[in-house]
């Protein structure tokens, strides 16, 4: 039997130049599904930090690393927006051929606004097209973004496990900073 093989691409959306870290509105996520750390930790916006190496912001590196990597999606970056955006990216960068090759099999299986993480399913033969389209993507719904692919696997479960372990790591770092 020739099985249809697919790849599940786990990706995270980053917002390296967004300056509204203080203004994450609680309406973006509910208290039931987000650990309290995300809600109570107030970070000073990048624009107001005095970035002195070795000064009191000497710990900035670790702080910035966590914050740059994971933050909730700002308004506008929804599942539908991400869906449209990456399909547009495939169209723009790979044309009709690329769009046609992946069309039957590609779908955005999961996107969480709380963690800006998503999972896309593609056929195994053409997953690199979708991967590259995600790399080329630099704007979603007007927000400037950067996408990194964290994991690619043949099953959704492995991607979920990796997503959970990465989130656990982030939460640990955030609580360690406090």
């Amino acid at each position: 039997m020739v099985r249809f093989k697919s790849r599940y691409i786990l990706f995270t959306v980053h917002y390296p130049v967004l300056n509204d870290l203080d203004e994450i509105s609680p309406s973006n996520y509910s208290a039931s599904n987000v650990p309290p750390l995300f809600q109570t930790k107030k970070a000073t916006p990048l624009s107001d930090r005095n970035i002195l190496p070795g000064g009191k912001e000497g710990n900035l590196g670790k702080d910035m690393r966590t914050l740059l990597q994971r933050r909730p999606a700002p308004d506008g970056v929804t599942l539908n927006a991400v869906n449209t955006a990456f399909k547009d990216s495939v169209n723009r960068n790979f044309g009709d051929l690329g769009a046609g090759l992946v069309r039957a099999s590609v779908s955005l299986k999961y996107f969480s606004q709380a963690t800006s993480t998503g999972i896309i399913r593609v056929s195994r033969d053409h997953y690199r097209i979708v991967w590259a389209a995600l790399t080329f993507l630099n704007e979603i719904a007007g927000v400037k973004v950067m996408i990194t692919v964290d994991h690619i696997s043949g099953t959704m479960r492995k991607c979920e496990k990796v997503a959970i372990s990465k989130n656990v790591k982030v939460v640990r770092e955030l609580s360690g900073d406090m």
């Binding site: 390296p16 130049v17 970035i51 790399t135 630099n138 990194t148």
Partner: protein, 298 residues
């Protein structure tokens, strides 16, 4: 263990200007954002790039302050690099004086003749070409093969693909990168970012995947961001610090860290400190008194 060997040092910040950590935007906070993003993505060695064109005086000072963010990003190794826009053979005479001022020497030839000179005779570490333009020369296997055989790598900067809105630059980059791969068969190529803002950075595995679009295999793509890039750093260090790349005098631990291979350096350091500790212990011991003699004395 990923290397990004081209982060342009902002032109506005010179050696003499005070490095101001001003609040909102400006070249230094933008640079910090770029570098912090790269660190968050997993790059452990970053080289600031200073581009120089025209006549090179003999007393150039390096405007790059490598350790400007070292306190905030302690786990990253920062290096300095100069890229000389070669449009005149006379510029190559300034190369020896630049060796001491920058960690990595790179060259951007603009004609075929200068490319040949760079590949065969110049004492450099990297050949960087502006791949977002149509190149005025063909990339031939013979020329580039000579560079690869000498250990000089050729660099692809991927920022034109991730920069916004410039379709032509993106197409040129892809076309040139594919031609480069064909001419060198994938050997001796490194990929670096050339990122002027945090938005243009991409993770190392994402960059390796882009390379597979240009014709690389998966291993060569990863080597371009990791192993081969490390080879450039080592080559540069050997050029600076060793005699004919055979003998090297190591002065202190900081020099060791230049390769960025922390595990090997750490092992080496542990070996040396263990040796030193043993020596100290042996010195500190009092001379062994013979027990027999003491007994007879008392």
């Amino acid at each position: 263990m990923f290397y990004d060997l081209c982060v342009p040092w902002p032109k506005a910040v010179t050696a003499s200007s005070a490095v101001e950590y001003t609040r909102s935007s400006g070249p230094i906070p933008d640079l910090f954002r770029t570098v912090a993003t790269l660190q968050a993505l997993g790059y452990t060695t970053i080289a600031y790039d200073y581009e120089l064109s025209g006549k090179i005086g003999s007393n150039i000072t390096s405007p790059i302050q490598e350790d400007v963010f070292s306190a905030s990003l302690p786990k990253v190794t920062f290096l300095s690099r100069i890229t000389i826009l070669l449009d005149d053979a006379a510029q190559s005479q300034a190369l020896p004086s630049l060796t001491t001022k920058f960690d990595i020497l790179a060259v951007r030839p603009t004609t075929e003749k200068l490319l040949l000179a760079a590949c065969t005779s110049l004492d450099i570490d990297l050949i960087s070409l502006d791949l977002s333009q149509r190149l005025p020369f063909y990339l031939r296997h013979r020329t580039l093969g000579a560079a690869v055989a000498r250990g000089i790598k050729i660099e692809i900067c991927y920022s034109p693909t991730t920069r916004q809105a410039d379709n032509n630059a993106r197409r040129n980059l892809i076309s040139n990168a594919a031609a480069l791969f064909r001419a060198t068969r994938g050997k001796g190529i490194i990929i670096s970012s050339g990122a002027t803002s945090a938005l243009e950075c991409r993770g190392p595995y994402d960059v390796a995947n882009l390379a597979t679009l240009w014709g690389f295999t998966q291993e060569k793509g990863k080597a371009a961001v990791a192993g081969d890039a490390r080879a450039v750093v080592v080559h540069a260090r050997m050029r600076r610090r060793s005699y004919k790349q055979v003998v090297e005098i190591v002065v202190d631990e900081d020099e060791l860290r230049a390769t960025g291979n922390k595990r090997a350096d750490k092992k080496e350091l542990q070996k040396r400190t263990r040796q030193e500790d043993e020596d100290k212990k042996n010195e500190a011991l009092p001379p062994k008194a013979s027990k027999k003699r003491k007994a007879t004395d008392s």
